[in-house]
């Protein structure tokens, strides 16, 4: 049976792992390779790196990081952030990323999803959606780290990127990100039900129960968390044991 996935996420700024709340108060939190090797050893199901480097002249560092990580671990990993063209994606996959994640670039030019899928196959293309609830009972898609409302409806956008050939959706709740109150389960479940591609739940994990809820209530195929793994509050193995006790199929 296919195991449900547990995915630690690392934010990368200019080649270093950083941690902050809602993209502010960033603190240096170590070397990406060291962190990746730790998660590799822990048997994480995948690892996601999100490049948040702002200055464009420092953005090439992420390709070296991808190469370095790919050469040294045997765990699949995804890289997102700052990828704007098919050429960027080709370069990133060539550097060693197993999957690439698109966010703003897909909103700006949806055809990039189709073009990417044609070159790599859908399984390689993740579309990252940052969603925030509005006062109409639905969710809007945000870009630029949650600062800009695109006016797109999250459910419609999820269906659209599936049509375009995305292989997976990484769904982050901007309301919950950094709050440690758990995933936005309504958002996660609605998007998961709306598409036939896997959905990775993201944003808001503060304890292991939240990860379980991502599967049972959110209907996610994978759960992502950053800080609880990052600050070693809980190990991947503990999460796996806990999920198994709760009848969620996980890798042995």
């Amino acid at each position: 049976m296919l195991a449900k996935r547990i995915i630690p996420c690392l934010d990368i700024d200019q080649g270093r792992v950083v941690k902050g709340v809602n993209f502010v108060n960033l603190v240096d939190a170590g070397d990406p390779l060291e962190n990746a090797m730790y998660y590799d050893g822990e048997g994480a199901d995948e690892i996601i790196f999100l490049d948040i480097t702002a200055s464009s002249d420092r953005r090439d560092i992420i390709y070296d990081m991808a190469r370095n990580v790919a050469d040294n671990i045997y765990t699949p990993f995804t890289i997102g952030g700052g990828l704007r063209t098919v050429e960027d994606m080709i370069r990133m996959v060539k550097a060693g990323a197993d999957k690439v994640s698109l966010n703003s670039a897909a909103v700006k030019n949806p055809e990039i999803v189709r073009d990417g899928a044609r070159v790599f196959g859908s399984q390689c293309i993740v579309v990252s959606i940052d969603a925030k609830s509005n006062n109409k009972g639905s969710f809007d898609v945000y870009v630029k780290g949650g600062r800009e409302n695109t006016g797109l409806d999250a459910l419609e956008w999820a269906k659209r990127v599936e049509e375009l050939g995305a292989g997976e959706i990484m769904l982050t709740s901007m309301d919950r990100d950094g709050t440690r109150q758990g995933y936005d389960l309504e958002l996660t479940q609605r998007v998961s039900d709306a598409v036939s591609i896997p959905v990775i739940a993201s944003g808001g994990v503060g304890e292991k129960r939240h990860l379980l809820e991502g599967f049972t209530k959110g209907k996610a195929s994978a759960v992502l968390a950053a800080s609880i793994f990052h600050f070693r509050e809980i190990s991947i193995q503990e999460v796996r044991d806990y999920l198994r006790e709760n009848k969620i199929p996980v890798k042995s």
Binding site: K4, D40, R67, P76, G96, V119
Partner: protein, 206 residues
């Protein structure tokens, strides 16, 4: 020497490294070389079927692979590398594969999320030297939307279950291939790499 074919996508350094970790010589090639000194050939897979087949044809790799397989030395296909040695695929319209083995590659038509992404179990259907020392129902990493249905079911060494039971590894004479990624399957995956290395070394010393 084990060669790993680079036909344009993906970083293959970790495949090379995984062989070298077990003491086997390995190199990446981006154009055909002499098959004479080879002990093993690996066709990895990142990309779409048609795009990859075009790239293999352009670089002259299709005849290279055929000649190599005819030499009876061990061959390993990984993921798309498994699919490409079959006859045809329906990915983005009908696409011709290498046709080394008979069978079709089709998209999952199931009541589950597609692509099939993540760790799934491989159940043994017959004994295979590629799985020596590996427990039945071990978890390996998959990431694909298409699967192969071999015309001759006896080539299947493992199946995995995702909506249906599909072929997740094959062995036919000197041809070995896996739908999953051993190079991305942590410790257990490296056992597969090691076993293939041993097969190559054993073949050379005969």
């Amino acid at each position: 020497m084990i060669q790993i074919i680079d036909y344009g996508r993906g970083n293959l350094n970790n495949v090379v490294k995984s062989f070298m970790n077990f003491g086997y010589q390995a190199e990446i090639i981006d154009q055909p070389k002499s098959i004479k000194d080879l002990s093993g050939l690996v066709l990895p897979g990142v990309g779409a079927f048609g795009d990859s087949m075009d790239s293999l044809n352009e670089k002259g790799f299709t005849s290279y692979i055929r000649d190599y397989i005819a030499s009876k030395k061990p061959f390993l296909g990984i993921c798309l590398g498994l699919q490409l040695i079959f006859e045809e695929s329906d990915e983005f319209g009908d696409q011709k594969g290498m046709g080394v083995l008979k069978g079709r590659v089709t998209r999952f038509d199931i009541d589950e999320k597609v692509p099939h992404i993540g760790w799934n179990q491989a159940e043994f259907k017959k004994e295979s030297r590629l799985f020596k020392g590996i427990p039945d129902e071990s978890y390996f990493y998959f990431v694909h939307s298409y699967y192969v249905t071999p015309e001759d079911p006896s080539v299947t060494t493992t199946t995995s279950h995702y909506g249906i039971d599909f072929t997740s590894a094959i062995e036919h004479e000197n041809i070995y291939a896996t739908q999953f990624h051993p190079e991305k399957s942590q410790k257990i995956g490296l056992e597969v790499i090691k076993n293939f290395g041993e097969l190559c070394a054993h073949h050379t010393s005969r």
